[in-house]
């Protein structure tokens, strides 16, 4: 049997037999080289209670080249692209070692959720949010966990959602912004989605709000 197949099969069996780590690996269209891994959000983090799925592709040169992994579940995290799910983690790149396994890599991803590295970000905007206003970041991360990963309701989202403006509110909270801020600029006659876009890009959150004056925002909105 081909060494790669033998190794992957053994890794899949190992994950199945291991009940304690709650890490699961499932086959996509019966090929052992395209898998979906999943794990639970680590406790004591905004990701707690969430169920995160990861797309896993085993390259031909595995295990001598790293597996390709990206999040299927949307995650609000400095080292994960909020758009594509791409992950910035050293062991998935140059620090890969052939002795690492699917399981150990998924555990590393889990611990990446515990300890973000905002200085080496994948998603610069999220990293900025993380650096400037931690509380607001965690609020948003929790909200994303709730919406996308089936986590428990975030305090903010659960409280205010009403039937009429739930859609627009979601957008605001999703971007980690304050509804009042968005409303303020929207009242000036700008498109709501544009306001959200600009405010997110300029990181109009927490302490940063005081640093950005309204003219700067309007200037950006007028572009």
């Amino acid at each position: 049997m081909d060494a790669r197949l033998r190794r992957v099969n053994k890794e899949i069996t190992d994950c199945k037999n291991d009940k304690t780590s709650k890490i699961r690996v499932e086959l996509v269209d019966n090929s052992p080289f395209h898998l979906i891994g999943s794990f639970l959000g680590p406790e004591g983090t905004p990701y707690e209670g969430g169920h995160f799925e990861v797309d896993i592709v085993i390259p031909d040169s595995y295990p001598f080249q790293p597996v390709k992994m990206k999040f299927i579940t949307k995650v609000y995290h400095p080292n994960v692209s909020s758009a594509s799910g791409a992950i910035c983690l050293d062991i998935l790149k140059d620090a890969w070692s052939p002795v690492l396994t699917l399981k150990s890599t998924l555990i590393s991803l889990q611990s990446l959720l515990c300890s973000p590295e905002p200085n080496d970000p994948q998603d610069a905007e999220v990293a900025k949010h993380y650096m400037t206003s931690r509380a607001s970041f965690e609020e948003t991360a929790k909200y994303w966990t709730h919406i996308y990963a089936g986590g428990p309701g975030a305090t903010k989202g659960a409280k205010v959602v009403t039937a009429t403006d739930s859609a627009s509110l979601d957008e605001v909270v999703m971007a980690g912004l304050e509804k009042a801020h968005v409303d303020k600029f929207e009242a000036l006659g700008f498109d709501r989605s544009k306001v959200i876009d600009v405010l997110r890009r300029l990181n109009y959150r927490g302490a940063n709000v005081a640093k950005l004056n309204d003219d700067r925002i309007v200037e950006e909105l007028l572009r």
Partner: protein
């Protein structure tokens, strides 16, 4: 003239014989050229630079010298010395200093020894370099026939693994039937198959010359000997590995540069072009010696002969041509933006009453204000004379003038560039002509070579001319620039005349006369090209050239005059 213009066959494979003059190892090209030289003196020309072309074995010899030095000083195996040097990017002085300071720490950092843990036998690995935990440990069930090459290297061969009750399962491929295992002195054992694939993939896919142990977080690095044994009989991959080491050595040494042409393994040593400050006075164009077309600049990343322009200016020009900044410049001078929807609009005639196609906004092209404000004053914008709009128009015409100036130089540059690209076709055409000439007139194949020689010269001069336009674009306007442009004009005229001669139809009767004419012209063109290069090169040395823009290494331009 024609009598001393005898050419031998070999010559036509050298595109630039002058280049080869100063090479020791390229004897084939040097002597044959003498009869075709304008100045037979061996005095180096001011636009040429001294350099030496090295083959890979020659560079390997340099490496071996360094390795042997270090090996002798530290009393370590050559393999160890090589790794130490590679870790220190071949900086011998720094290595010696650091190693003398703390040999153990250096060895650990270089991946030659394990970091000390609470090991009882640690005193052994601490003592001297020669006992660095470096030996390859090999455990085989059968005694392999392979013998360690050097008696000093510690290769441990074991007849059987110490604990035979448990079969060895490779932690990577989970195969329990493998009988041969390899490990570095860290004792992280893996089967030889996995090592083989791993090392091959590191070398082939990642072009890595620094191969560490496969275990997670193990920094121990494999010696050349280990790499060789892991690769088994894959000599090709091992050769690639050695090439990678050579490449690292070359890239660490500023006097050396690797030939940038694909799959070329030659190196050029050019100490004169190595310092950044020298690049304001010389253009270090070198040829690697493997092939006459492998010409590149030692000072910058341009893979072509960019004489007479110095690296800094050449780079700026290429950047400018590549950037879409000029497109933007065009847009700036030819278009305006709709003040409502920001679409770019080019006015292609008609009156000043514009209606944006996209958002239907109506405005005045002159003042860009809404058309409604013009009231009944149709076609006479009352804001026309306002200072703001005058300024705007001035800015627009200035931008247009600079665009035109750029295009003047760019078109001429592109023209020579284009003709260089077409040269393949032209060479084929010339060849056909040469055959024809052989048939129609009494000339031998050797005698008709003057055509090819002329072609070569035209091609070479077009390259020079091409870069002179880049240079002229950046030269500040003064007498020097005028002299430069005179030389440029003379060269260009001569080149155009020669290419016309080459392309003219052949008449059997006048073939001999044509030959004479082409030969004379070729010599003249060659001379003009030399004058051009010589004069610019001397100009750099005499600091005669002033730029109209700030160039790295040169004085700031005093007053920008274009």
């Amino acid at each position: 003239m024609s009598s001393d213009y005898e050419l031998s066959d070999n010559e036509y494979y050298d595109e630039d014989d002058d280049e080869m003059m100063y090479e020791d190892d390229d004897g084939s090209a040097s002597e044959m050229d003498v009869d075709f030289k304008i100045t037979p003196s061996a005095k180096p020309k001011s636009y040429e630079i001294e350099y030496e072309s090295l083959t890979q074995p020659q560079v390997e010899k340099l490496i071996t010298q360094d390795v042997e030095d270090i090996s002798g000083i530290f009393g370590v195996e050559p393999d160890v010395a090589s790794l130490l040097l590679r870790h220190f990017n071949w900086n011998k002085e720094r290595l010696i200093e650091k190693y003398m300071d703390n040999a153990t720490a250096v060895s650990v950092a270089a991946g030659l020894a394990l970091p000390e843990k609470a090991e009882p036998s640690s005193s052994r690995s601490r003592s001297t370099g020669s006992s660095l935990g470096l030996g390859i440990r090999r455990a085989t069930r059968r005694n392999t026939a392979e013998q360690p090459k050097s008696g000093k290297t510690k290769i441990l061969e074991r007849v059987s693994p110490p604990a035979d009750d448990q079969p060895f399962v490779c932690p990577i491929c989970f195969d329990d039937s493998q009988t041969k295992t390899l490990s570095l002195s860290c004792e992280h054992k893996f089967c030889s198959e996995c090592w083989n694939t791993y090392v091959t993939s590191k070398i082939r896919t990642e072009a890595e010359h620094w191969i560490t142990c496969m275990a997670e977080d193990c920094k121990l690095v494999a010696t050349d000997e280990f790499v060789k044994s892991a690769l088994k009989d894959d000599a090709k991959t091992f050769a690639r590995f050695q090439e990678l080491v050579v490449r690292q050595f070359v890239s660490c040494n500023k006097n050396l540069k690797y030939c940038p042409y694909p799959s070329c393994t030659h190196t050029v040593s050019c100490p004169a072009g190595a310092s950044k400050s020298a690049l304001t006075t010389i253009v270090p164009i070198v040829s690697c010696g493997a092939n006459a077309s492998h010409k590149f600049c030692f000072g910058c990343a341009i893979d072509a002969d960019h004489r007479p322009v110095v690296c800094g200016v050449a780079k700026m020009w290429l950047q400018k041509c590549q950037d879409d900044s000029e497109t933007a410049n065009w847009i700036k001078s030819n278009t305006k933006e709709c003040s409502k929807c920001q679409s770019t609009i080019e006015k292609n005639g008609g009156c000043n009453h514009m209606t944006c196609k996209k958002c239907k906004y109506e405005f005045c092209w002159v003042c860009m204000g809404p058309w409604t404000e013009h009231g009944t004053a149709w076609y006479s914008c009352n804001r026309y004379d306002e200072k703001a709009s005058i300024d705007a128009r001035d800015a627009q015409s200035r931008s247009r003038a600079s665009l035109e100036r750029y295009l003047h130089y760019y078109n001429r540059w592109a023209n020579h560039e284009q003709s260089a690209k077409l040269s393949v076709e032209l060479y084929a055409k010339t060849e056909r002509k040469m055959e024809e000439m052989q048939i129609t007139s009494d000339m031998t194949w050797i005698e008709v070579q003057f055509m090819k020689k002329a072609m070569d010269e035209v091609f070479k001069c077009r390259m020079t001319l091409k870069w002179t336009y880049a240079m002229a674009y950046y030269l500040a306007k003064n007498n020097q620039k005028e002299l430069f442009e005179d030389n440029q004009r003379d060269l260009e005229r001569a080149v155009e005349e020669l290419s016309e001669l080459i392309e003219s139809s052949i008449d059997p009767e006048s073939a001999l006369a044509l030959r004479q004419k082409v030969t004379d012209k070729t010599v003249y063109v060659q001379k003009r090209n030399e004058i051009m290069l010589e004069d610019t090169a001397n100009g750099y040395l005499e600091e005669r050239w002033n730029w109209n823009i700030a160039v790295d290494g040169f004085d700031e331009p005093a007053e920008i005059a274009i």
